[in-house]
Amino acid sequence: MRIPVVCAIGVILALVLACVHTAGRTTVCGRIDSTQRYQAPSLQCLLGHDEQGRCMVDNLAGGVETFLAPGALASLVTGVGGILGGLGLGYFGSAPRILSGVSLGLIESLPRLVILLLVYSLWDHSMMALGVALGILLVPALAQQVRVRLRALEAQDYFLNLRAHGLPESRILFYHMIWLTCGGEVLRQMLAAFGNMVILETTLSYVRHGSLASSDCSWGYLLQRSLLSVTELLAVAQHRLRGSPAPGGNPLAFLQMLSVMGAFFSVFWAVSYLGRRVILGYENEEKP
């Protein structure tokens, strides 16, 4: 197996482990300890400490909880909705086709971020509701892909041949159409939905400065807070460069930002990369 695949799977496993690690704890973030403020990485805490002396590894693990379940829900909604929409557009008769076309056109016309903000306010800042809304908003993209694939195979009389071989319609529908023909694309779009949920949760908790974040260790909130440490660090650098006495500041403060950015980037990269690999694997596989 190639190294990037191992890394990507490792990142996904780390997310699951982080959730297991924080399960059952009363506070998901790290323990506040002012004596450990901006402390350097150590064996006990591999990524150092934040401005409140909390261990960054514990903070990042706690932040996973805010997007893991909503992300999984968004993926599920996108997958199910996309398959149904795609079948409506490319498999069933004219009435479902029109209905699917109008519904998907309607969803596509909605301004995504505005709707998500409204849903976030409407459902009392519920991340699960946000996950469902995001999943619905991503349905048209998958439905169109499913339709294109079904139409392409239909044009080559692929399904007609299967029917001529006497295969039951349910097997043609669920195995040949959904799993073999569209499985790769469905998995890719589901992973993309998860990645989008991570971005959305991080962006929302970043832009509202944590006021709407469901957790104190949401990654967006941590990223926004880490800007303070960088500002502090830049002030120290400015004084040192000018030769004036520098105020007290820890040169390792920037590690807080680096660790959040690294975690965020690696999760998004992992889901994008796995998505690309899945689709390549499907395309190279010979159809029965």
Partner: protein, 304 residues
């Protein structure tokens, strides 16, 4: 010709139907939000009447050349003005991305190794969400200022990010947006592939065999799909603009939207979301109509 007009008519009808449907969904959502905020009954017809009256009143006064007697600086009008800024920013970002894509294709023509590096860059940039890229831009700019102020011994406090300098915010937004939204790389890749396909097509080979120049025909065949794709990218960039405006503390529709949600200004919320739906539907419709008009065979000129 009949088929062309039928296609145009159907697309226009579908776009209008989608816009009306989307607007209805938004109105319902906003009112549901309002109900959850206040827990009281709401006057749907009254609010929509208010928006319509405000629009029509302003339009009438503007057309008759009179000064407005109504308080112009209402939250709705303010939101619309800010939305216009955001749309302008999105248009400039797409234009910049398109320009960079054209320049990049021109200079990397016939160099597959560079193209391969672009593919890798594309993967890396796609893995960099707007919020990260914007944060990195802010930190990078402030670090440069610190270095500059130390070397040149000047006070750069006013230029710090996100500070008060609108020019720095606009420039940063115009650089970040085409990269984070994937506009530059998508357009670049699309144009490169279209160009490769055209260069190997029969009519270009025939022109070359006859010793004629191919740049003109190539450009004519490339520019249509390119413009359509660039316009099709605008709705996506518009969503990114909202995020960028909030992060860079821009005086734009993104910050206004958050403010309106906080203030629970129902009229302005409906107005602003309606405006977004209208703009996005118009852009999608424009891209669809252009693709229909520029499809080979829709005009008598043919491919050349």
């Amino acid at each position: 010709m009949f088929r062309l007009f039928t296609g145009l008519f159907i697309r226009l009808g579908l776009a209008i139907a989608s816009a009306i449907g989307a607007a209805s969904v938004i109105v319902m959502l906003v009112f549901a939000t309002e109900m959850s905020f206040t827990g009281s009954d709401m006057d749907l017809v009254g609010s929509i009447d208010m928006i319509a009256m405000e629009f029509m009143g302003q339009l009438r006064l503007t057309l008759s050349g009179q000064r407005s007697l109504m308080p112009v600086d209402t939250s709705l009008l303010r939101a619309i003005r800010l939305a216009a800024h955001s749309i302008l920013l999105a248009c400039i970002a797409v234009a910049m991305g398109s320009f960079a894509a054209i320049i990049s294709v021109y200079f990397t023509r016939g160099r597959p190794a560079i193209r391969q590096r672009h593919w890798e860059l594309r993967g890396a940039l796609y893995s960099t969400p707007t919020v990260l890229l914007a944060t990195l831009t802010m930190v990078g700019w402030n670090a440069l200022l610190v270095l500059g102020s130390a070397v040149f011994e000047v006070d750069t406090k006013d230029l710090q990010f996100p500070g008060t300098s609108v020019v720095i915010k606009w420039v940063s937004a115009i650089i970040v947006l085409p990269l984070s939204s994937g506009v530059y790389l998508d357009l670049r890749n699309h144009m490169y592939e279209e160009m490769l396909a055209l260069e190997q097509s029969d009519f270009v080979l025939a022109l070359q065999a006859n010793g004629l120049g191919v740049s003109g025909p190539l450009l004519r065949n490339l520019i249509g799909p390119f413009v359509i794709r660039a316009i099709g990218k605008l709705p996506q960039v518009l969503s990114e603009v909202i995020v960028i405006e909030i992060i860079f503390d821009f005086n734009g529709v993104g910050t206004e939207l958050l403010h309106l949600l906080g203030e629970r200004d129902l009229t302005a919320l409906i107005g602003i979301t309606m405006l977004f739906v209208a703009v996005m539907t118009a852009l999608r419709g424009m891209a669809g109509l252009l693709s229909l008009l520029m499809k080979p065979g829709s005009s008598s000129e043919g491919a050349l």
